[in-house]
């Protein structure tokens, strides 16, 4: 049995496999299928100060090897999360990462202050491309990445801060550095790539929001490249994600330098994807004589 444990900013993960925000709710539904306590961590559905209804439907579409979504941050609000979902998640014994979003710097600071000390980590969603005001605006330019990171960080005394980076930018490495300068303790990437699918019979975009975030196996090479670039650029830990569907995919991200990985779309294709990835990591590491993740983290050598 390989040692799959990883520590990120003081949070002890039993393995590096984390449910990605937005695909897993607050864990209750998947817990009906398997004990979600086996997971390294769970990044919650994106939370806002007030409840939000999100976008009109359809909210999802497909491309070859990818999906697009535009849910638009539907969530019950941070208070309902603290009241109803935190006690459940705490009992599961997995690392709780609260994914948070806002429309203004004050929103970000307020929601971080509310969750400070309650959750294990906070993940700042500055890149959700679906909400017209907020979201994307903070995540595009390095100056605003730094600004929003600083606003969130200033509201936190106990809980470390992850900044989730958008790939729809000029340089994700530059934005990662901006997050680090703003006080981020960790960065996670990539959020979805903005895309569009057209219903040619109706001559309209298939998703009600017109555009949606592209995710799934088809985007994995882009995500691996970006994680590699960011790992080279920053000194803080990096959590990688983008199209991970099996243990070997996860190993790629770790070799590119990621400390842990998140799994999103694969949960739709296979509800047991994450337990299988955890098991598969064990098997792969044992077969390759790798005793712990440190041995392979960032071990990549580039071709001459």
């Amino acid at each position: 049995m390989a040692d799959l444990r990883v520590n990120i900013c003081g949070a002890a993960f039993k393995n590096p496999v984390i449910a990605a925000s937005g695909t897993f709710g607050f864990g209750r539904e998947f817990d009906e299928i398997y004990d979600i306590g086996v997971l390294g961590g769970i990044s919650t559905k994106g939370l806002t100060l007030e409840p939000r209804l999100g976008n009109p439907t359809p909210r999802i579409a497909e491309g070859y090897g990818v999906i697009l979504n535009a849910v638009g941050l539907q969530n019950p609000g941070v208070e309902a999360f603290v009241r109803e979902d935190m006690p459940f998640l705490r009992k599961k014994g997995t690392v709780i990462i609260a994914n948070v979003a806002g429309r203004t710097l004050d929103d970000y600071a307020a929601i971080c202050a509310r969750l400070d000390g309650l959750v294990d980590l906070i993940e700042l969603n500055i890149s959700c491309p679906n909400v017209k005001c907020g979201g994307m605006a903070f995540g595009i330019r390095p100056e605003s990445v730094k600004e929003v990171t600083r606003a969130a960080k200033s509201a936190l005394a106990a809980t470390p801060l992850i900044v989730k980076l958008s790939p729809n930018v000029e340089s994700i490495a530059v934005n990662a550095l901006a997050a680090q300068e703003g006080g981020a303790d960790c960065v996670s990437l990539i959020n979805t790539l903005t895309g569009m699918v057209i219903d040619i019979e109706r001559r309209k975009p298939l998703i009600a929001n017109n555009t949606g975030g592209v995710s799934g196996a088809g985007i994995r090479p882009i995500a691996v490249r970006m994680v590699f670039e960011v790992c080279r650029a920053v000194a803080i830990p990096v959590i990688g994600m983008g199209g991970i569907a099996c243990a070997e995919d996860a190993v790629e991200f770790i070799m590119a330098g990621a400390s842990a990985v998140q799994v999103g779309t694969a949960n739709f294709t296979d509800t047991l994807a994450m337990p299988k990835i955890i098991q598969g990591l064990n098997t792969w590491m044992d077969a390759h004589g790798v005793k712990n993740l440190e041995e392979i983290r960032g071990c990549l050598t580039l071709n001459g």
Partner: protein, 256 residues
């Protein structure tokens, strides 16, 4: 709810653009019931989303679903052969439940919405309830399952939009034309949104208070209630998840 590997036993056309797929279950599954659905993989690796499809019929060891071949995903699903293995999460959703006192049951189905109606006929056949079925199809070539509909019903009307088979009308028109003689205790319906809207408006216009339950269709992500992709609006302004809170709702509680 279980995640299982299921084996295709049959995947054949039953009407123009509609396939019937029967798969065998590797183990016993509890809770298979009319109006619930399965989330079935397409089985080609390119389509990451499963297809949520209503249960049409189930016996102990197998489940039958019928689906419209509409886009690239269902075209690919139609290529699966007997013996192929797909993955499936089932059973999902709440389904239709008939109360003891609901003896006269009206079924109003349109297009692929007829299949959940057939699941009701199959499940409650022999229960002593009387079924009054109103099934609408686009055209003659889309008509299917006539035997199951007529055989399970006290009275059945199969109609088409273009009049090429049965009367030229839709299922809702057929239902209201027969309402006084059917006098149902409950109405169950599934079909395209315009059809469900017409049903709701028709009930309101006639002041009919009979309980009415509709099964909704929506593009889904996870299918288990986690991702909030397949929501519908409720009359109270909140959202409900079609996959988990539905797909069956009281017609008065949902915005159509």
């Amino acid at each position: 709810m279980k995640e299982l590997h299921v084996k295709v036993l049959e995947n054949v056309p039953v009407a123009a653009g509609v396939n019937r797929l029967t798969f065998s279950l590797p183990e016993a599954v509890e809770g298979l019931r009319c109006g619930r659905f399965v989330n079935l993989s397409v089985g080609d690796g390119a389509h990451l989303l499963r297809r949520p499809i209503a249960i049409c019929e189930h016996i102990e060891s197998s489940v039958t679903v019928c689906y419209q071949i509409k886009g690239a995903g269902t075209r690919s699903l139609a290529e699966r052969k007997a013996g192929d293995v797909l993955t499936c999460v089932l059973p999902l959703g709440n389904g239709f439940v008939l109360k003891e006192e609901e003896r006269r049951v009206a079924l109003v189905g349109g297009g692929v919405g007829i299949f959940p109606m057939i699941s009701v006929l199959k499940e409650y056949g022999g229960s002593g309830k009387k079924f009054f079925s109103y099934m609408g199809f686009r055209t003659r070539s889309a008509v299917c399952c006539e035997e199951a509909i007529r055989g399970g019903s006290e009275c059945a009307a199969l109609v088409t939009d273009d009049g090429s088979y049965g009367e030229k009308m839709n299922a809702v028109e057929a239902f209201f034309a027969d309402y006084e003689s059917a006098k149902p205790d409950v109405i169950l319906s599934c079909g395209p949104l315009p059809m469900l809207r017409a049903l709701k408006a028709g009930l309101a216009a006639r002041g009919i208070q009979t309980p009415c339950y509709v099964s909704l269709e929506e593009r889904m992500g996870c299918g288990v209630g986690a991702c909030l992709v397949c929501v519908c609006s409720l009359a109270n302004g909140e959202h409900a998840r079609v996959c988990k809170d539905g797909p069956v709702f009281s017609i008065g509680e949902v915005e159509l």
